[in-house]
């Protein structure tokens, strides 16, 4: 079953073509890595899928529903959640409150229910706090629940962002460089967490990642972008051996030298 299908996606900013004719499919329950040199269009691709950018051309379907050009809020309603390259925790909230906002779309209380503290509103608040705490525990961050999120390290903030996406029970989560800020020996544990999220919660994951070991370790498939064009796609070990990929990262001279030796 296909969770996400992208067909002929192109986007231009002024005269710059950030993505041209990118097509791929992501099966439900897969972990897909997106790699490529800086400026290849990886973040642009995630931003376009999540609705922050409007595509110039092409089709995006999430679980069979067309989402190209829709607003981020509508796409979030269809079960897409994401994390960001730079931490996007809300500085004015504690860690727990941050994670509680992840449940926004699944809670109902309106202005009057909130203002008059209706019974259903209070029950909803309790359930929200409970779920947020469980999500924090899932990523091992519950002891920071009452601290302001921005006081934590980048790596810890990323974990809390992951908890904030999980709480909404999404179908698809986009992760933009989740291993940034993690020390080398923690990356493997992040990999185990991502696998667990997929296995236990059935969430499909797409991640941009530069840490090759993580990509090799957890991704079922890898997509390589260079100058906005998809240059390779396949199993991780195939992709990293692909001459086009090596050329994109290191230049053709390196590849030639490698072959010659």
């Amino acid at each position: 079953m296909t969770m996400l299908s992208v067909r002929g996606l192109s986007i231009s900013f002024g005269g710059v073509r950030a993505l041209s004719d990118v097509s791929f499919e992501v099966g439900a329950g897969n972990i897909v890595g997106i790699i490529g040199p800086n400026g290849a269009g990886k973040t642009t691709l995630l931003n376009t899928i999540s609705g922050l950018n409007r595509p110039s051309a092409g089709e995006i379907a999430l679980d069979g529903v067309s989402i190209a050009g829709r607003r981020p809020t509508e796409i979030a309603k269809l079960g897409l959640a994401r994390t960001f390259q730079m931490s996007q925790l809300f500085p004015g909230m504690t860690v727990l409150e941050n994670v509680m906002t992840g449940l926004h779309l699944r809670t109902r209380a309106g202005v009057f229910a909130a203002a008059f503290r209706s019974r259903s509103m209070r029950e909803e608040e309790e359930a929200t706090a409970q779920k947020a705490w469980e999500a924090l525990r899932y990523v091992g961050m519950e002891r920071f629940a009452h601290q302001p999120g921005t006081a934590l390290s980048f790596g810890q903030q990323r974990m809390i962002e992951i908890a904030r996406t999980l709480i909404s029970e999404p179908n698809l989560v986009l992760l933009d460089e989740p291993a940034v800020g993690l020390s080398v020996n923690r990356v493997a544990e992040l990999g185990r967490l991502l696998r667990r999220i997929r296995d236990e919660k059935g969430v499909t994951l797409i991640m941009i990642e530069h840490v090759v070991r993580l990509v090799m370790g957890v991704c079922d498939r890898v997509l390589v972008l260079n100058y906005g064009v998809k240059i390779a796609e396949g199993k991780p070990e195939q992709v990293v051996a692909d001459p086009r990929v090596i050329e994109a990262y290191l230049g053709s001279e390196f590849d030639a030298a490698r072959r010659a030796s």
């Binding site: 809300f90 779309l105 706090a129």
Partner: protein, 346 residues
């Protein structure tokens, strides 16, 4: 424990006793102080919580006062219809400002809303046939007959009730998913959208609530003063309100109350030196922005019982219970993620 809740109860209990012990002048000042509590709360929800740097609340205050006054004078509406009418009118006008706020932020939003406030001031001054122009018009005092309560006491206790209701309303509202959505919009529009928080809806809601608060204060101000004229709703009025939330504490309900109480007191102490009011207000604003940008309330928030969470649920107690539940045998554990990341700060 004496926390922010007890402080508010004590404050309003004290305000309830004021009429029995104070002279009419002190009564008037206390009444004015309550209206400023409403104004500061309304502005703080918009600026402090939702992060929309708008400068039109003085105009909303004026629209509320004019709306309530004119509905009585021109159409002969009874006060208890005219007052909500004025508040709702201010709410509607306030809501319209959300449309520039979707495109503009920061100082640009400030300038465009300031332009709106100037324009509404101009309308009050020049639309003579409706607004009576620059001279204003006398607004009826509150007539509660046949109840044996005079107009001064009547408007005082009406203000008291309305202020308590609006403080309680704000207090609950910010501790809900609505309040959290406001803060999310303030702290990160992109992340907020990705979580499904609709910017138009929540900015609109913040402008509407803020307009309603300012309009309500206006509708109480007309009978309190017995006169409505454009000069009370000018730029200085905006500076007064802004300095209240800066001095009290941005993004804090208690800070709004504290700021209003402190600044009304300062305003009255300077009454004898009228020309110094603007200078002193400007100086206080600069000093606070430089040395205590989050206001007086930060001094108190270090004490237990003075925190202002964004959830109406006592999550600390809940967490203790949840932790107990987790340690029960058979419940799932996920120790793998426990020490996932470094403790070190970046």
């Amino acid at each position: 424990m004496f926390g922010n809740r007890q402080f508010l109860i004590l404050l309003f209990a004290a305000l309830a006793i004021v009429p029995a012990v104070a002279n009419p002048y002190i009564l008037y000042i206390c009444n004015l102080g309550m209206l400023y509590i409403i104004l500061a709360l309304g502005l703080n929800i918009l600026v402090g919580y939702a992060g929309q740097f708008a400068l039109a609340n003085a105009a909303m205050f004026g629209i509320g006062a004019y709306g309530a006054g004119l509905l009585q004078v021109k159409l002969g509406a009874p006060y208890f219809l005219a007052a909500p009418g004025g508040a709702i009118l201010a709410m509607l006008v306030g809501t319209i400002i959300v449309f520039p706020a979707l495109r503009l932020s920061g100082i640009y939003l400030g300038l465009s809303t300031l332009a709106f406030a100037m324009f509404s001031q101009w309308v009050l001054l020049h639309w003579n046939s409706v607004t009576f122009g620059g001279g204003g018009f006398p607004a009826p005092h509150l007539d509660l007959s046949p109840l044996p309560i005079g107009p001064d006491l009547g408007i005082y206790f009406l203000s008291w009730i309305v202020t308590i209701a609006l403080v309680a309303f704000a207090w609950s509202l910010v501790r809900s998913r609505i309040g959290r959505s406001f803060v999310a919009v303030r702290d990160g529009e992109i992340a907020a959208q990705s979580l499904g928080i609709d910017l138009l809806r929540y900015k609109g809601l913040a402008f509407a609530i803020s307009g309603f608060y300012a309009g309500t204060a206006g509708a109480l101000y007309a009978p309190l003063l017995g006169y409505v004229s454009p000069e009370g709703f000018d730029l200085f009025q905006m500076i007064i309100q802004k300095s209240m939330i800066v001095v009290g504490g941005m993004g804090s309900v208690l800070g709004s109350v504290l700021g209003a109480v402190v600044m009304v007191t300062v305003l009255e102490l300077l009454r004898a030196f009228k020309s110094t009011q603007e200078i002193v207000f400007g100086a206080i604003l600069i000093v606070f922005v430089m040395f205590r940008p989050r206001g007086l309330v930060t001094l108190l928030q270090r004490l237990p019982g003075w925190e202002e969470p964004l959830s109406s649920f006592d999550s600390r107690r809940m967490l203790a219970r949840a932790a107990a539940h987790v340690s029960e045998p058979g419940s799932p554990r996920y120790p793998a993620g426990r020490d996932l990341v470094d403790e070190s700060r970046p």
